[in-house]
């Protein structure tokens, strides 16, 4: 299993994501440069956190048009596994691979803290290593993490089991609609979340709950 982690100018958590992938048994990971459309034969893509292109126009808006993202979009349309974390989630929403948009936190400020997430659905290929209802301790760190979708789209997401993770009761840090922390696309092969599972893979630095998402992707790949 080979993960490819995108590196945009302004990515911050790309090395963390590589380390997290490498915590998965029999998995490896490599960085993919934003200007190179070649995905180098990787089996799954991680679009990492950070401030791609400075987030200067709108979080994720410019990264979405980089050469590598054209390939990632094609990879996703062909059924490839794509995980977007934080800024990566914003990029995937901007790219139209995931529904909705991320807006500034209700509190306007950057928030960095450990939060409790509730697994809504335990399902291949992203949450199969967790149990429905399980609580995961994973940190958030963002300014623009308030998930928004129009009401009819929210209903559709709920109805089609596309919401995989919610902030646990009382733990919503940013005002996200329906406490949504992570959603997948209708086909189920693209998943985005604001919390940082790559920062929850080692007991030394906090929690190992985030590793379950990377390991599930490896299991899904087989």
């Amino acid at each position: 299993m080979k993960f490819g982690v995108i590196r945009f100018p302004g990515s911050c958590d790309e090395v963390d994501a590589v380390l997290a992938c490498e915590h998965v048994p029999n998995a490896s990971a490599q960085l993919l440069w934003h200007g190179d459309p070649d995905l180098h034969g990787v089996d799954a893509i991680v679009v990492p956190g950070g401030f791609s292109y400075g987030d200067y126009l709108r979080a994720g808006a410019i990264a979405r048009f980089s050469p590598v993202m054209e390939s990632v979009i094609a990879f996703a349309r062909a059924g490839g596994l794509v995980l977007g974390i934080c800024n990566g989630f914003q990029v995937l929403c901007e790219a139209g691979l995931l529904p909705g948009a991320l807006l500034p936190n209700v509190g306007r400020r950057f928030i960095c803290r450990q939060v409790q997430l509730e697994v809504v659905h335990s399902t291949m290929p992203f949450t199969a290593d967790t149990a429905a209802g399980e609580l995961l301790s994973i940190p958030v760190k963002h300014t623009t993490g308030r998930y928004y979708a129009p009401p009819e789209q929210l209903d559709s997401l709920e109805a089609h089991d596309q919401i995989l993770l919610r902030y646990a009761s009382g733990a919503n840090p940013n005002g996200s609609s329906n406490d949504i922390a992570g959603v997948r696309n209708a086909e189920g092969n693209v998943f985005g979340l604001m919390p940082h599972p790559e920062h929850a893979v080692d007991p030394l630095t906090g929690s190992t709950d985030g590793l379950k998402i990377f390991s599930a992707m490896a299991h899904a790949h087989g």
Binding site: S11, C12, V15, D16, D55, R109, R113
Partner: protein, 728 residues
């Protein structure tokens, strides 16, 4: 032709102007030369009022990898790795525009770290403001915190800790000191000395504009006056995205072995960076400013030379590697441009195309600024008014006093600030803010470093010598609680106008204390920064030596924690703790005048106690260790309760000195520890340990004779959250 009046307007004295004229005689200095000299000979660049005193600091040690004089100091941490670190002030820019001032302060200190070839791995900040009920303080705090977060979060370097104090004398002169750390292979460090006649000088990073012209250097050498608003247009604006690219570009250039020397552009911009590089390499440099990429049209040569536009670096490479260097700059979109050449002239020569517009001897710029002796004089009357009283003297209920102290701005939880910073990026953070007395970062080999930054200015104001010794010992106490042994120290000396005898006395005494403490602890000073003239109409700031230290611990998994961890553990007060109320946080809340001296400190005894704590933490004997700092013993116990989410029951026995015992201070000397009874007994074989109670429950209950104190964890937490409303 510039006049003496212009020189004085640029911050020089008439005598200094004459010295510059003599350097260039028989011709007169032109505008380019005067601008460059005025910055190189500013307090900020030349340390002309502090350099002689700083020579007293110990700068040697077995773990030193890079000492004072380079962009940052560094210590070895085993397996061929070194940790680079430095603290620097950005006080005056932050007082003018707190968001950008704090942001560019972080940007500047990060450049110092990667300029020596180390990847930045952490930032800590040391902040001082007036009392938080002042609207100005609220504005400065909110925006400074925002600026720190904006820069550090965006660039992907964790902000892992720091400190903030609120005291009246900082109302008009806030302090924003930023410390950064970097990690490098020992053999990958690079110096800033330009060498190799004929080598190319390459400028890369952001384009050059008029920002900061007459900014940091001039601002940092003059007391703030009413014209502050007029200085706003020259404030530098930080661009963390640009710096991120500059950082990655710098590290890739070094990794590929393409550079001879690297230097960041900070205060005084191209002037200072080029002159320093030439001085260290004992060479000359020719610079053609017409090649410098500009953001604004029509900039004069002197403006280009002194611009403080951020996110720029200067490097030297061999001509045969120039194309490769420029290609790496292109990859990272940071616009590299060859702007000059290394020469054997020992002169900094500035050209516009073929026209020579400035020709200055490098030694004159860097080494020949006159150094001044201070005229210290101890004050015969108090320099500072007593703090404003916020707690009545006749409050005798220690439970009420405890909650008042926990809610005191200098003690309340810093999480409302720290949660605005990314403390975990780079996946090294083993102890996040308020999990331990020091931040802890894992190292590649399984070990870790602990980092703390400290400096209680009010106590230094009481007694500059002892207060500074206390600051060092407070810092080493924090490291000990994490299980770390100190390796090196950096400092930022924030003082008022040193030309005034009482300020000169504070500075002299403080440096004497710093030197004595470092010698007694065998900790070298690896670098530092001095910020003087921190005064305004309201008088001088408290003298504020900020001390940052890096320590090492062998096993990251055994890093200490400050919070109680297990119900049933014994609670002890360890160390040669001699609490005193004068100069304490409680004395401040009661509006008591500052005492004129503090108890002398037996540094050797404190060092021995701290080593015992460190060893017990490393052995895994202690479930928690927390040093008793501001607010005294009971506040420290409450903090351990809050950090662990566990209560405690203590019986102190009947005492007639209950108030000093509970709330008196004795910095660096006392530790609240928890662990098994056997573990505390083992610790007691080395140092005094008074076992006073047990961890457990959801309240802090204290008995002393007939006195009962009881507060639930929720009550403690509510009091401790007093800073949250400052960030609505």
């Amino acid at each position: 032709m510039p006049t003496v009046d212009q020189a004085i307007a640029l911050g020089l004295t008439a005598a200094e102007f004459e010295l510059i004229r003599a350097q260039l005689a028989p011709r007169e200095p032109n505008e380019v030369e005067l601008a460059v000299f005025s910055l190189m000979w500013s307090e900020h660049c030349a340390y002309k009022h502090s350099k002689k005193l700083l020579r007293a600091l110990p700068t040697e040690g077995p773990r030193l990898a890079l000492g004072p004089g380079e962009n940052a100091g560094a210590v070895t941490v085993g397996d061929g790795w070194v940790v680079a670190f430095k603290v620097e002030s950005h006080n005056h820019p932050s007082a003018v525009e707190p968001f950008q001032g704090a942001a560019t302060g972080v940007g500047g200190i990060l450049r110092d770290i990667f300029a020596i070839g180390a990847r930045p791995i952490a930032v800590l900040d040391s902040l001082r403001f007036g009392e938080p009920d002042s609207p100005r303080t609220q504005y400065l705090l909110d925006h400074a915190v925002g600026g720190i977060g904006h820069y550090g979060n965006s660039i992907g370097v964790p902000t892992i800790g720091g400190e903030v104090y609120f005291e009246g004398p900082y109302e008009q002169n806030c302090l924003v000191n930023a410390m950064a750390l970097g990690l490098a292979r020992a053999d990958a460090l690079i110096r800033s000395a330009a060498t190799g006649v004929g080598n190319a000088l390459v400028l890369f990073g952001a384009s050059t504009g008029r920002d900061g012209i007459g900014g940091a250097s001039v601002l940092a050498s003059a007391e703030l006056g009413e014209a502050d608003a007029d200085k706003r247009p020259t404030v530098q604006v930080g661009d963390p995205f640009a710096e991120k690219k500059v950082m990655e570009c710098s590290l890739e250039l070094l990794e590929r072995g393409l550079l001879v020397a690297l230097q960041d552009l900070g205060a005084a911009g191209l002037s200072s960076s080029s002159a320093e590089m030439a001085s260290k390499g004992e060479v000359g440099l020719d610079i053609d400013v017409s090649l410098v990429p500009l953001r604004e049209a029509g900039m004069a040569a002197w403006e280009i030379m002194v611009s403080e536009s951020q996110e720029r670096m200067l490097c030297v490479c061999e001509p045969s590697r120039l194309d490769e260097v420029l290609a790496v700059c292109e990859k990272w979109e940071v616009g590299g441009t060859a702007i000059g050449t290394v020469t054997d002239t020992r002169a900094l020569r500035v050209f516009v195309g073929d026209e020579l517009v400035g020709d200055m001897p490098v030694p004159a710029l860097v080494d020949d600024c006159p150094l001044y002796d201070l005229t210290p004089q101890a004050p015969s009357e108090p320099l500072y008014a007593p703090p404003v009283r916020t707690l009545e003297h006749d409050v005798s209920d220690p439970g009420i006093t405890l909650l008042a102290l926990l809610a005191s701005p200098n003690i309340a939880s810093r999480l409302p600030l720290f949660q605005q910073y990314d403390s975990i990026v780079q996946s090294r953070t083993v102890r996040r803010p308020e999990q331990a007395d020091a931040a802890v970062l894992a190292l590649p080999g399984g070990g870790a470093i602990a980092i703390s930054i400290d400096g209680n200015g009010r106590r230094v104001a009481c007694d500059p010598y002892t207060g500074t010794v206390e600051a060092v010992l407070e810092c080493t106490a924090n490291l000990a609680c994490a299980g770390a042994e100190p390796l090196g120290l950096t400092n930022c000396l924030n003082f008022g106008n040193p030309e005034k005898p009482h300020i000169a006395w504070q500075l002299t005494e403080s440096i004497r204390g710093l030197a004595d403490a470092c010698r007694a602890l065998d900790v070298p000073v690896v670098g530092g920064n001095v910020s003087l003239y921190n005064e305004s109409g309201g008088g001088p700031i408290y003298p504020t030596p900020v001390v940052g230290m890096v320590g090492e611990l062998p096993d990251a998994a055994r890093a200490g924690r400050s919070g109680f961890a297990r119900a049933g553990d014994a609670v002890g007060l360890a160390g040669p703790f001699r609490p005193r109320l004068p100069g304490s946080e409680l004395a401040k809340l009661r509006g008591e005048p500052l005492p004129t001296e503090l108890d002398a400190i037996d540094i050797a005894a404190l060092r021995a106690a701290q080593e015992a704590i460190r060893d017990a933490v490393r052995a895994g004997d202690l479930a928690s260790a927390h040093d008793v700092a501001e607010g005294g013993f009971l506040v420290a116990v409450a903090e351990s309760c809050l950090a662990g989410g566990l209560g405690a029951t203590l019986d102190l026995g009947p005492r007639d000195d209950l108030e000093p015992a509970l709330f008196g201070e004795s910095p660096g000397a006392g530790f609240v520890v928890s662990g098994s009874a056997e573990a505390l007994a083992r610790l007691g074989e080395r140092i005094d340990v008074d076992v006073v109670g047990t961890v457990g429950g959801d309240a802090l209950d204290v008995t002393s004779g007939a006195v009962l104190i009881s507060a639930s964890i929720d009550e403690l937490r509510a009091a401790h959250a007093a800073l949250a409303p400052l960030f609505p």
